[in-house]
C-alpha cells in the first residue's frame, strides 16, 4: 500500500491507536446544501446582483465547505486536541517567553465598547480606548526608562523595522544616513532581515569567548558609516551584557546608536531599565513579556520606545493630550484612569498627524489594539511588586534548571544565566544524538521542546526558557525528563533518535513537503 492510500483510508476512520480522534479536512466533510448560518430577513429591497454588477459579478462560487454547526465545532475541537499548549504544560521555548496567558485579559479585550470600536470613529467617541492606549504607553515608558513610544508595529520584527527606520531618519537629519548595521552572530534572524529592508548593509559582530560582545572587535568595527548596533540584552544565550554602558559609549563616540531587541525583557522588568543603561531605541514584544497569547503564531504586538531625540521621527499618528488647545504627549496618570466620577474634568486625547519629520506609517490604523488591552490588564494585575517578582521568578526558574542539568549537559558558556539557559548537545552528539532528537524525545515526556539549534554560536543548542509560570513541581518533572533522556542517550540511543513515539503522527517528511509543495486541498479528479 502506498503512503497516500494509507492517509486517505485513514481519514475516513474515526480512531487510530492514539487517544485523539482523527479528523478529515473540512472540504472532505462537506456536502452540498448543508449550512451553519442563517441570515435575518432583508429589511430593504433585494437586488439582482448579476444585473447590478454586470461583468464584475462572480458567476462561479468559491468552493467553500458546506457543513452544519455541530460538525464545525467538532472539527476544530478535534484539531485543537492535536496541539500542545501552555495550558497543558511547560513550553520552554528559549527567547519566546511562553508564559501563562491570563484569562481576564481575554475577557476585557472583548468588552463591547472596546472590541467594537471602529478605528475612524470620532475621537470624542473613542476616549475610552484612547485612555487604554495612553496608560499602556505610560506604563511601558516607565518599565523601559525611555522617553517616547509608538504602539503601531504589529510584531517584533515589525518593531525592528520601525526602530531601524527611526535610526536611519535621525542619521539622515544629521546629514548622512550611514551605511551599515552591526549585528552579533548570536542574534535572531529577524535582526539582519529588518536591517536589510531598511537599506542597510549587515556586518556581523563575532561574539567573545563568553558569548557576549567583544569590546575590541566592536571598537574596530564601529566607524563613521555605522548607523547602529542591534543588541539583544540579555543575549540569546541568556546573559546580561555587563559591559553594556561601555558598548553604548563606544557606539556613541562614533555617532552610532544602540538598538535593543527587547525579546528578552522578561529578565529585566522591574529590575533594570534599558533607558538607564544607554539604549537609544528598542522594541518590546507584548506577546512575550506582557502575556498576550501567541495564538499558534500571532497576533503579536511590537511597540518601539526611544529616547527624546528620536521622538520627532516616530510613525504617524501619535497620541496627544489636548489641554487648553495645546498638544502634548500623553502621560495618563493612574488617577485619571481610576476616576469613576463623571464630573472629574478629563483630559481629551486625540491623534496628531502633523509630524513633518515622521518616518510615516508602518501599518494602517494604530496597531494591534486588542493586544494593548491584554497587556495593560496584565500590568494592572501585577503592579510594580508583582512585575518585579515575576522577573525574579523567571530568572530563578532558569537558574534552577541550569543547576540541576549542568552535570549531564554541556554548558558552553559559564557566565551567569538570566531568564534562560543554553546547553550544547556536545556530549550527546558523541553518541550520535542531536539537540533535535532530544527535543523530539521530550515530547514523549509531556513537554514542548525547548528552542532547537539556536543561537547559532552554540553547537547543537538547547535553549531553555521556563518563564515564571512554572512551579517547582513542573520544573522538577522537566528536569527528571531531561535526565532520563540523557540516560537513554547512553543506553538506548535508537529510542531517542526515532522519537516521538507517543504522538498521533511520527516525524514528518519535510523534504517531501518542500520538494513537491502541496499547499492547498484540491478535489480528487
Amino acid at each position: 500500500m502506498s503512503s497516500s492510500e494509507v492517509s486517505v483510508a485513514n481519514a475516513n476512520q474515526k480512531v487510530r491507536p492514539h487517544p485523539t480522534q482523527n479528523e478529515a479536512l473540512l472540504f472532505e466533510k462537506s456536502s452540498p446544501g448543508k449550512r451553519a448560518c442563517k441570515l435575518p430577513p432583508l429589511d430593504v429591497p433585494a437586488v439582482d446582483a448579476a444585473a447590478l454588477l454586470g461583468a464584475a459579478h462572480r458567476s462561479r462560487s468559491a468552493e467553500l465547505p458546506e457543513l452544519s454547526e455541530i460538525e464545525i465545532i467538532r472539527h476544530f475541537t478535534r484539531l485543537s486536541t492535536w496541539n500542545y499548549s501552555i495550558d497543558l504544560g511547560m513550553y520552554p521555548l528559549g527567547s519566546c517567553t511562553m508564559k501563562y496567558n491570563p484569562r481576564v485579559n481575554e475577557y476585557v479585550a472583548r468588552i463591547e465598547g472596546l472590541a467594537e470600536a471602529h478605528p475612524y470613529r470620532p475621537d470624542s467617541l473613542a476616549q475610552g480606548i484612547l485612555e487604554v492606549i495612553g496608560l499602556l504607553q505610560r506604563c511601558l515608558l516607565e518599565i523601559t526608562g525611555m522617553d517616547a513610544i509608538t504602539l503601531q508595529p504589529a510584531a517584533g520584527a515589525h518593531g525592528e523595522f520601525t526602530g531601524i527606520l527611526l535610526v536611519r531618519a535621525w542619521h539622515e537629519s544629521q546629514g548622512n544616513p550611514r551605511r551599515k548595521i552591526l549585528i552579533p552572530d548570536s542574534a535572531h534572524g529577524t535582526n539582519p532581515a529588518s536591517a536589510a529592508i531598511c537599506g542597510y548593509t549587515v556586518e556581523t559582530l563575532k561574539s567573545n569567548p563568553e558569548g557576549g560582545i567583544d569590546l575590541e572587535a566592536l571598537t574596530r568595527q564601529v566607524d563613521e558609516e555605522t548607523a547602529a548596533l542591534m543588541l539583544t540584552n540579555p543575549s540569546t544565550i541568556g546573559v546580561f551584557e555587563s559591559q553594556i554602558h561601555k558598548i553604548a559609549d563606544i557606539l556613541h563616540a562614533k555617532g552610532a546608536l544602540l538598538y535593543m531587541d527587547g525579546a528578552n525583557m522578561n529578565a529585566l522588568v522591574g529590575k533594570a531599565r534599558p533607558g538607564d543603561f544607554g539604549v537609544d531605541v528598542m522594541h518590546l514584544n507584548l506577546h512575550k513579556t506582557f502575556s498576550t497569547p501567541h495564538g499558534g503564531g500571532g497576533p503579536g504586538s511590537g511597540p518601539v520606545a526611544c529616547k527624546a531625540f528620536l521622538e520627532p521621527f516616530l510613525p504617524i499618528p501619535i497620541l496627544v493630550r489636548n489641554e487648553n488647545g495645546t498638544k502634548c504627549a500623553p502621560g495618563l496618570d493612574s488617577e485619571t484612569w481610576e476616576s469613576k466620577n463623571p464630573d472629574t474634568p478629563r483630559v481629551s486625547l486625540g491623534w496628531n498627524y502633523d509630524r513633518p519629520q515622521s518616518i510615516g506609517r508602518v501599518r494602517a490604523f494604530y496597531g494591534n489594539v486588542g493586544m494593548f488591552i491584554r497587556a495593560l490588564a496584565y500590568i494592572l494585575a501585577n503592579g510594580p511588586d508583582g512585575l518585579r517578582q515575576t522577573t525574579e521568578d523567571a530568572v530563578l526558574n532558569a537558574n534552577y534548571i541550569r543547576s540541576q542539568l549542568e552535570d549531564l549537559f554541556e554548558l558552553p558558556y559559564k557566565t551567569p544565566s538570566m531568564h534562560e539557559v543554553v546547553f550544547s548537545d556536545k556530549r550527546q552528539a558523541a553518541r550520535g544524538i542531536k539537540t533535535g532528537d532530544i527535543a523530539k524525545r521530550l515530547i514523549d515526556y509531556g513537554f514542548h521542546p525547548y528552542t532547537v539549534s539556536f543561537p547559532l554560536i552554540v553547537h547543537g543548542a538547547l535553549m531553555i526558557e521556563p518563564t515564571e509560570s512554572e512551579s517547582r513541581e513542573e520544573l522538577d518533572l522537566f528536569i527528571a525528563a531531561m535526565r532520563s533522556i540523557a540516560r537513554e542517550v547512553e543506553e538506548n540511543p535508537e529510542l531517542v533518535k526515532t522519537a516521538p513515539h507517543s504522538t498521533r503522527v511520527s516525524r514528518l517528511d519535510e523534504v517531501q513537503a518542500a520538494r513537491k509543495p502541496i499547499l492547498r486541498w484540491r478535489p480528487q479528479p
Binding site: 467617541l125 518599565i143 546580561f240 522591574g270 497576533p299 506609517r361 490604523f365 494591534n368 499547499l519
Partner: protein, 449 residues
C-alpha cells in the same frame, strides 16, 4: 501575584539548590548603577474584579450605542458566536508557531484549510499563512513583484486605501523603489486607464490597485491587467473588503492578491489585530513572504502538515530573506477559517448579496436627499459609496450624532479635490431604520443654511 505558582518556601529551596544566597545574587551581573532600587511608578496591583471595572468604564466612555456608517478598510459584520468559543480553547490560544509539527497538527491543519479557502476565494493558486494586515500585505506584495520581475518601480492607483499607500511609501523609502501615482476617473471613481497606461513602463515591476477600491467602486481588473501585462509588469490586487468575494468576480487576471480578511469574523477592535494574507499564481511561490503550511506524510504514511519552504524566511536566510516577517496573525486567520466554515459556499454569497442590497438602498436613500448627491455612479459598487453634500460634513455630522449615528467619513483629509465628500458603508448589520434616520437627519438643514 496570582499568576506565580511558587511559594516563598519553594523559592528558598530553589535558591539553596542553586547555591545562591539571595535572589538579588542572581542579578549581580547587572552593574549596580543600572539596577533599579525602587518600585516602578505604575498603578498598584489590581484585583480581577477591579480590572474588569476599569475596562468596562473605558468601554462605556467609548459610547457603544451609536449606529455607524463607517467602513474605509475596517468593516462591521456579524460574528458567529462559535468563533470565540473555539479560538478560546487553550490549545489554539496558548500555543506557539507550529515549528514542532508532531504536537502542532491542529494549528497546521487549520492553516492548510485557511490557505485553501483563501486560494479558492481569490482564484489564485496558493495563499500563505497570513500577514500582519492588508496594508503591510499590499506593501509586501509589491516587494514580491520586484523580486519576481527584477524591476524596481511601481505604479499605484490613487484609489488604493490612502493609509495602505502611506505604508507602502514607508516600506519603499529606502529600497530605491520609486512609485508613481495613477489618478482616478472623476465620473466612475475607477483608476484612469489612460493615465495608468502612460505611467506603466518597461521598468514597472508592479501595478497596485484595490478592488473594491477606496471609494467602494469595483475596478475593471481585466482592462488593468492587460495594461500591466503588456509591459511585463505584474498586477497586484489589494482587497480590503473580503466579503466582496462572495459576489464580486475574483481578480483572476492578477498575479498577486493581498487580502485583508478582517471582515471574516474579526472584531474591529479599533483597527487591530486584523489579518492580512497574500495569494498568488504558483510561479511566484518562491518569492512569497511569510509562513506556508504544506501537506506531507509521517514515517507510517499518515497524512500530516508542516511549515515548509522555510528557506525563503529570515530564520534561515537572515538578511537575504524574502521578508523580515516572523510572528504573523495565526489566531486571527483561524477566526477567518471558522467564519468561512460557518457561512460556507452558499452563505458567503448570500451574505455578500445582503451587503449589496443594504448599500444600494442606503445610496439611493441618502443620495436623493436635498443637497446631497452620489458621486462615481458610472461603475458598479459593493457596499460603500461616496456622497457629496452642499453642507460641509462638519455641519451635518453633529445632527447625525445627536441621533446616535456616526455618518460617513470625510474624504477631504485624503482627497482635498473632493469637496464635501464623504465615504459611507452599509453592511448587513445596518438596518433600514438607521438608514432612514440618517437620511432624515441629513435632510434636516436648519432654515437659511
Amino acid at each position: 501575584m496570582r499568576y506565580l505558582p511558587n511559594s516563598p518556601a519553594e523559592r528558598e529551596k530553589m535558591l539553596a539548590a542553586i547555591g545562591a544566597a539571595s535572589i538579588d545574587g542572581l542579578f549581580a551581573v547587572i552593574p549596580a548603577e543600572y539596577r533599579l532600587d525602587r518600585d516602578l511608578d505604575l498603578p498598584r496591583a489590581h484585583a480581577e474584579s477591579e480590572i474588569i471595572d476599569c475596562f468596562r468604564a473605558a468601554g462605556a466612555k467609548n459610547s457603544t450605542d451609536y449606529a455607524s456608517f463607517l467602513g474605509a478598510g475596517a468593516y462591521r459584520h456579524y460574528r458567529p458566536v462559535i468563533i470565540d468559543s473555539l479560538i478560546q480553547r487553550g490549545e489554539f490560544l496558548t500555543s506557539y508557531t507550529p515549528y514542532q509539527a508532531e504536537i502542532s497538527q491542529g494549528t497546521l491543519q487549520a492553516i492548510f484549510e485557511f490557505q485553501t479557502m483563501i486560494a479558492e476565494l481569490t482564484a489564485m493558486d496558493v495563499a500563505n499563512a497570513s500577514m500582519y494586515d492588508g496594508s503591510t500585505g499590499a506593501s509586501e506584495a509589491v516587494m514580491m513583484a520586484t523580486r519576481a520581475t527584477g524591476r524596481h518601480q511601481a505604479v499605484v492607483a490613487a484609489t488604493v486605501h490612502p493609509e495602505y499607500r502611506e505604508v507602502l511609501a514607508t516600506y519603499t523609502k529606502f529600497r530605491s523603489l520609486p512609485t508613481t501615482l495613477a489618478g482616478y476617473d472623476r465620473e466612475t471613481g475607477r483608476i484612469d486607464l489612460a493615465a495608468l497606461d502612460a505611467a506603466v513602463t518597461q521598468e514597472t515591476a508592479a501595478v497596485l490597485v484595490q478592488s473594491p477600491n477606496f471609494f467602494g467602486v469595483i475596478e475593471d481588473i481585466p482592462a488593468i491587467a492587460a495594461i500591466a501585462h503588456a509591459k511585463g509588469a505584474l498586477l497586484v490586487v489589494s482587497i480590503a473588503e473580503a466579503i466582496s468575494l462572495g459576489v464580486v468576480r475574483p481578480p483572476v487576471e492578477a498575479d498577486i492578491v493581498s487580502l485583508e480578511a478582517q471582515s471574516f469574523g474579526v472584531a474591529l477592535s479599533y483597527g487591530g489585530p486584523f489579518c492580512g494574507v497574500i495569494a498568488a499564481k504558483e510561479q511566484f511561490l518562491r518569492q512569497m513572504p511569510g509562513r506556508l503550511v504544506g501537506q506531507t506524510t509521517d514515517s507510517s504514511g499518515y497524512r500530516g502538515f508542516v511549515l515548509t519552504l522555510a528557506t525563503r524566511e529570515q530564520h534561515i536566510r537572515r538578511e537575504r530573506a524574502t521578508s523580515n516577517i516572523c510572528t504573523n496573525q495565526a489566531l486571527v486567520a483561524l477566526m477567518a477559517t471558522i467564519f468561512l466554515s460557518v457561512y460556507g459556499k452558499e452563505g458567503i454569497r448570500e451574505l455578500a448579496e445582503h451587503n449589496l442590497a443594504k448599500a444600494a438602498y442606503a445610496a439611493q436613500k441618502l443620495g436623493s436627499q436635498p443637497g446631497a448627491k452620489l458621486l462615481f455612479t458610472g461603475a458598479p459598487r459593493f457596499h460603500e459609496f461616496v456622497l457629496q453634500t452642499e453642507e460641509s460634513p462638519a455641519q451635518w455630522s453633529q445632527r447625525l450624532l445627536d441621533q446616535k449615528i456616526v455618518g460617513g467619513i470625510d474624504l477631504s483629509r485624503w482627497y482635498p479635490e473632493l469637496s464635501n465628500a464623504t465615504l459611507w458603508c452599509a453592511t448587513e448589520v445596518v438596518t433600514r431604520e438607521q438608514i432612514d434616520t440618517a437620511a432624515g437627519a441629513l435632510a434636516a438643514r436648519p432654515a437659511g443654511a
